[in-house]
Symmetry: C2
Subunit: 155 residues, 2 copies
């Protein structure tokens, strides 16, 4: 949970590092109006306190030949631990699934899937997904446009 609270400068630091996770301490310090020493201390603190959980390189799916992104909602027919386990186990072994969410609402799961072309998509939906016994029904939405992978910070 959130134990400590962030002041305006901490928030600026987070913003700077979300924009570019490889910014040097000095660059961040300039951007937020702090000395490098003080800024370095705060960054370390933000990491230690768990506000910053890590750093990642952002990869371009298109460059990897993954031209199609779809969202697939899934309903299971067996709402038992077994049914879920079976589903998760099958799904996890498929790298085209870039994200999967357990949800409560009209569906049980929502998957984000990247594929090269419609053939690959057909294979995935027909052979993989619908081949899982605990899957009752799926519905696929084609993603036409994404809001940048930019993370919006709440300020």
């Amino acid at each position: 949970m959130s134990a400590k609270k962030l002041d305006r400068i901490d928030k600026k630091i987070l913003k700077a590092l979300v924009e570019d996770g490889r910014k040097s301490t000095i660059e961040v310090a300039d951007q937020v109006g702090l000395s490098a020493t003080a800024c370095g201390r705060r960054i370390r603190q933000l990491e230690d306190d768990g506000f910053i959980t890590g750093y990642s390189a952002n990869i371009s799916p298109k460059e990897l030949g993954l031209n199609i992104c779809v969202l697939i909602t899934v309903k299971l027919n067996r709402h038992t631990p077994d049914g879920h386990e079976q589903f998760i186990h099958e799904i996890e072994s498929h790298p085209e699934v870039s994200e999967f969410l357990l949800v409560a609402g009209n569906y049980d799961y929502l998957l984000r899937v990247w594929v090269a072309d419609t053939d690959a998509l057909t294979l995935f939906v027909a052979n993989v997904l619908q081949g899982i016994p605990s899957v009752l029904e799926t519905s696929t939405m084609l993603v036409l446009k994404q809001s940048g992978d930019l993370v919006n910070l709440p300020w």
Copy 2:
């Protein structure tokens, strides 16, 4: 589009930098079995070729006091450029929307929204979303579990 193809080592480099975007050239080099010089060259190449689009710090929503994540599907009543523009314009000014996708399928948009509590969620859905004239109907799914924000690479 993808002009150049990646060999096994390039893929390992991408994997290493997705895991930790601040890994030093030397660490990556060790991990993939390359000299630091060669590895640095490849990393720069991957950046220049657009395979790596950038680096980001990963922030913990929980630590920021954002305890609830929901997915909200949206249908518009006016499928005109104006209707979309109006919707996007309204949505973009709300930081609780961390992601929004234009989709083709059963819905028009899908939003990922982070809020502190159910009160904030109610406010957002009732006042913000349903206050937009071009919004016909929304449906909210509570996200119970996320597949790590880990990015699955297709290998």
